[in-house]
Symmetry: C2
Subunit: 246 residues, 2 copies
């Protein structure tokens, strides 16, 4: 039996919702999840508002194996993710002794003042464990099934690299792509019939449009090679049939 592991992502930040910053983390997480066999089932982008973050994290952490958040863990007043996650879990948000000592030591060595703002980055929910940050030191954290990471893409990616070996992964979703020179309107009926005959697969049809012309990418996905191949062959034959007819 295939093992199913699921995930949701929470992108925290007014700057994404205002358009000022274009998110680059959703696509990266989606790629990594697919590569290792975790099904990303939902993404939510929420503003820098405590009630919204608390409600969203509680909604998704109850439903999925893992939750990944990005954004809001810096040193400024609008970085409220640690407080919000603590509230969602009903635990105090407090200075983590290990993070505090590590950061204090690092700033001292660099001759940089350990300001109140910088100290904020050592705060996390009681009971959380660290996610190492090789780029800028201040750690992310994990509590329960929720992994809290930075929004700056280079730091998010480095933190995620550290998280990945700790995750349980599922049976990978295999996929095969069939390029189809016809529009969806022509092939939609027969393609739906193939899907009905292969319920253990997920057949996606992605319309492409450019230079005044429609074509289609047909993607078969399944968790066993046998199921994948059986549906793929039918899709290929269907496309070939239309091309002959045309």
């Amino acid at each position: 039996m295939p093992e199913i592991v699921t995930a949701a992502m929470l992108v925290i930040g007014d700057e994404i919702l205002s358009g000022r910053t274009k998110d680059k983390n959703i696509g990266h997480l989606a790629d990594i999840m697919t590569a290792v066999g975790i099904d990303l089932k939902e993404v939510r982008i929420v503003p820098d508002e405590e009630d919204e973050i608390v409600a969203a994290v509680n909604a998704v952490r109850a439903r999925y194996t893992y939750v990944f958040t990005t954004g809001g863990i810096g040193p400024t007043h609008d970085d409220i993710t640690a407080d919000s996650i603590s509230k969602a879990f009903g635990v105090p948000c407090e200075y983590d002794a290990k993070a505090y000592a590590m950061m204090e030591d690092n700033y001292r060595k660099r001759g940089v003042e350990f300001t109140e703002a910088r100290k904020r980055m050592a705060r996390m929910p009681r009971g959380a464990s660290h996610i190492d940050n090789p780029v800028s030191m201040a750690p992310g954290f994990r509590i329960g099934n929720v992994h809290v990471m930075a929004g700056v893409p280079s730091i998010f990616q480095a933190m995620l690299d550290n998280v990945m070996p700790t995750l349980r992964t599922g049976t990978k979703m295999l996929s095969a792509t069939v390029q189809c020179p016809h529009g969806e309107g022509l092939i939609g009926g027969p393609l739906g019939d193939i899907q009905k005959r292969h319920p253990e697969t997920i057949i996606g049809s992605y319309p492409k449009f450019g230079e005044g012309k429609f074509w289609t990418e047909l993607v078969v996905r399944a968790r066993t090679q046998e199921a994948l191949d059986a549906a793929r062959v039918e899709v290929e034959n269907m496309v070939a049939g239309f091309s002959k007819a045309g």
Copy 2:
């Protein structure tokens, strides 16, 4: 008093969650909403699953002035947005006579068969009105406060252009950006104090990292010029003070 108009976006599609397609519509909608004075408050990306779409659209349409969806309105079996939105509103999903006639006529003129798959694109919730599609004809639709549009970016953008003049807009959020050569850790404390003194503004701090160096973009947002300017001047003075001190 400023008038507040809010919106949520629902991105529908397995291909975004699997990473196969990188979304380009969220950033575009965010930019347009900000430009006209509508606050985009939440985005959700959901899979091609009816229950998930119904739950998400019902959650957001009750909370925000407008909802915009992208994806799932093509002719194939995995295009289930029209059915899902109908279910969310508790109305039948049926062929729209005007859309059907328009599409039938257009396909006949082009000598293209009006297949069962193409006919699917004339289906919409009873009582919905059209959103014109100048690119590929098959219309999107509006029902209640929900605007259902295509996922292909060029078609989504064209449909959104047709929707924008029909929307009520709010008092625009004005913004001013102050470039800060210092990292957030240095300025975080004083910046938080400025935010406290200017509760009618939203002051965002966006860390930038590159070439081994941190700097910060400080963005003041407000719905009146007076409020914006008052906070902006304080932020500028703070940054200048740190630069002198350094």
